[in-house]
Amino acid sequence: MTADIRQHSPILKLEDVAISYETRYGDVEAVRQVSFDVHRATTFGVVGESGCGKSTVAFGIVDFLGANGKIVDGSIKFQGRELVGRSQAELRKLRGDQIAMVYQDPMQALNPSVTIGDQLAEVLTTHRGLAKNEARQKSIDMLSRVYMPDAANVMKRYPHQISGGQQQRVVIAMALLNNPALLIMDEPTTALDVTVEAVVLDLIEDLKRDFDTAIVYITHDLGVVARVCNYVGVMYAGEMVETGSVEAIYDDPQHPYTQGLMRCVPKLGTTKESSRLYPIRGRVPAPKDRPKGACIFAPRCDYATDKCHTEHPLLREIQNGHRARCFYSEVIDPEAWEPPEGLVPEIAPAPETEEALIRVSDLRTYYEQESRSVLSLVGLGKKQYVKAVDEVSFSIPRGKTLGVVGESGCGKSTLAKTIVGLEAPTGGEAQFLGFDVTVPLSNRDLKLIQELQMVFQNPDSTMNPSYTVGHQITRPLERFRTVPKASAYDEVIRLLNAVRLDGSYYHRLPRQLSGGEKQRVGIARAFASRPELVLCDEPVSALDVSVQAAVLNLLMEIQREYGTTMMFIAHDLSVVRFFSDYVAVMYLGHVVEIGPAEDIYAPPYMPYTEALLSAVPIPDPTAEQKHIRLEGTVPSALNPPSGCVFHTRCPRRAEMLPDGGRICEVEKPPWQHNTEEHRIYCHIPLEELRKLDPVVTEV
């Protein structure tokens, strides 16, 4: 009977936990009143935007808070034993034996100068006192269980010799070696590509079942939560605002913040014309600015009343274990929600034109690579080339958006850099407004430079930290003489207003802005010269979902206002779908499928597109998605596969082509036209590809 009780008692139980950090300005409460239970063989997802205290909770469980952090209140019970107040020595033993952690960056969890085999075996020899041979054998077994191909061989390698996805598998294997009762994962797939992420998420799902482990899974990605978690806790500004089963939270969110988050996320199934993203107004307050004695979400809530501003709500049960920290959960009907005036601009559809603004054909950008042989020292070595962009052709009609998707290293950023002139192309043609854009930047006409601008990815490096916002937007105005000198100030204010920042930002320095605000200034700067074509290189991938929604809306609004044409690069297929009229899918420097967005996201698919789509985590636990996983890793661009570049990983060619798809290995595939605009780079006949089912079917 005792065994039975143990079966049902939670592995981990947090009650009213509060964690503070000591700072220069006194103690700051990072997390307060956090309570949740995690049971064996279930995954509890902690989800929220950055700065909400997710990681603090994870580190708090094992008391990894550093010298200035401490748990000030509440209790953390692990298998019924209290953890708060234990000495570091006791905790260390526990962490090694029964609690394991997996972090975001696998390269930081692995020692680069020790072989993987030694690192894995060390866990067993230290904690279990196993003999070296036995530990080795067990390590190999464990690597096989995390689906590591060629496990015995991987044991001899160093971490840098295997890919990022494989590294993360090694870290997970290491965590599982001691058969821990609790596994804490902090954004374990955030640094990985979608196709790799999909494989790791499958693995986590399998392991939970096989090992009977309780998992705390921390992420900002609502799609990932829907795929791997059984229970979810939504955190906002250091508090748990809603907890419940994953179905309940996605189906019937009770807290206005959760409802707002759901409206921020672009969904794969929706089209550009019909869909809207509704950002949450305002921003997450810093710990010291959080409202006291009031609902922390009240300043941003559409339903807030006087009570919300004067009383602090508690997490209370709404129904069957679904709890929310809101006074009005029963009253609020999210279906009846109407966006407040001015939150989302009316966006007119793009004008219909046939005229192509930019036409690129057979564009190639190769990087020369010195070979490491002795001959190359004397200049006789054979030159090798990294084919970053190869045989790329497309055109963008005026006023439309071309989305470019692909995994990291597929050449999408190089393509953008080649067009703006930051990289010199090796061959091919590119025509834009009657200019030849294959010439390097230094030889370009100022008029051409003015018409081609870029929005960058990283908000922290997009602005020069030494100059004010106003100065940085004024500079392109002066350079290109867009407006007369006297009216430059007014023009800057107008641009700032266009990106929804008021004039007070003129004298601010970049360090005084948040990530989203910096990105807006970056957009204003790009549009200052009134360019015809703006290339956006992952402009929202570093931003939180609610900020991302606002920036995406803004980009679309500005695009309509100025009639700008855009190339939008992203790795997130949902965002690209939301934003683009046309989509190009890239793999290993090649465009493998291109066409209007609706056609790309429906059959016939190029097999790579199909695999990408089926890997995307969808923020809807009820959506049905085909299960296609790519084997192996992206081949090196230094030595790309012959024939079709995708043949080494293609899951379709063996079953759909005669002779097991031998033709793909030797012959370059033809461009098959599905419609006039939709082209697929594949040997498999279109009739066959058309028979495939759509990847995503919503219930």
């Binding site: 810093a286 430079i449 960058f456 997009t462 350079r479 004039g503 005084q512 970056g522």
Partner: protein
Amino acid sequence: MTVSEQAIGQPTERPGGLRRAWEGARVLWSSKTAMIGLLIVGFWVFAAIFAPLLTPYTPTEQDYTAQNQGPSAEHLLGTDSLGRDIWTRLIYGAQVVLVMLPITETFWLPGGVALWGVIIGLLAGATLGLIGGYLGGWIDEVVMRILDAMMAFPVILLYMIIIAAIGASATNVVLAIAIVGIPGIARLVRSLALDIRTRDYIRAAELRGESVWYIMFVEILPNARGPIIIDAMLRVGYAIFAMGTLGFLGLGLPPPSPDWGSMVAKGRQFILSGSPWAALWPSVAIASLVIGLNLFADGLREESLRYQ
């Protein structure tokens, strides 16, 4: 704290110079090391500027009745072998080091030999470093190899070669300090430029068709200023040291001008005969000023790192 308040609050005006100076003073005040350094350096700067008011003598005035004396009410730190007042010579010597650079007999520039040496070295070194770091390629290769060759010489030897070649005078010591400092400064600026040039705002500048010089000096250099300023302060310390060494070897300012290094060299002969003062005081002066500058630079560096 002020940062986030501004970010959330009402329209802000451009932060005024006064306010920024106040912020800087606050950073300084919170570092004990930097404050002690500043006090020592401040003492010498003050003494150098107001030298004529702080002593009744001139630096070359000889009193044959009082040679090699210890400290007394009449001569604060004693006298040297020619009966010259050591305190007077020290503070007039500090003038040359810190506040005035004699070009000819009658014409001088504000700022001492050590400061001018570092400033000129900084201008040349930073330019070379920016060229190497931002442009890269063969230009970088050529510039850096030449600088490497310079670094291969021992510093003292390099000073001696330069001074022996162009002669001993205040301006030539400035030149020597500048030339010897160039490789180190160039290396520092190059490494900073290599990092900064990868930032997206440099791409943005290139996409405005800005000139290479604009990008190097307007976009890159201001963002490298922190480490450069700290390095420059340490370099002023080394320069004072170098001046002392050159003076001691007889390659400094020609006599009878009050030069700390040559004062030590002159006074050295009388240490064993019971009059160590003429050698001791200028040594203390050199050491205290160098230590003061180092403390100041270290404190500033620690404090600025802490603020990030």
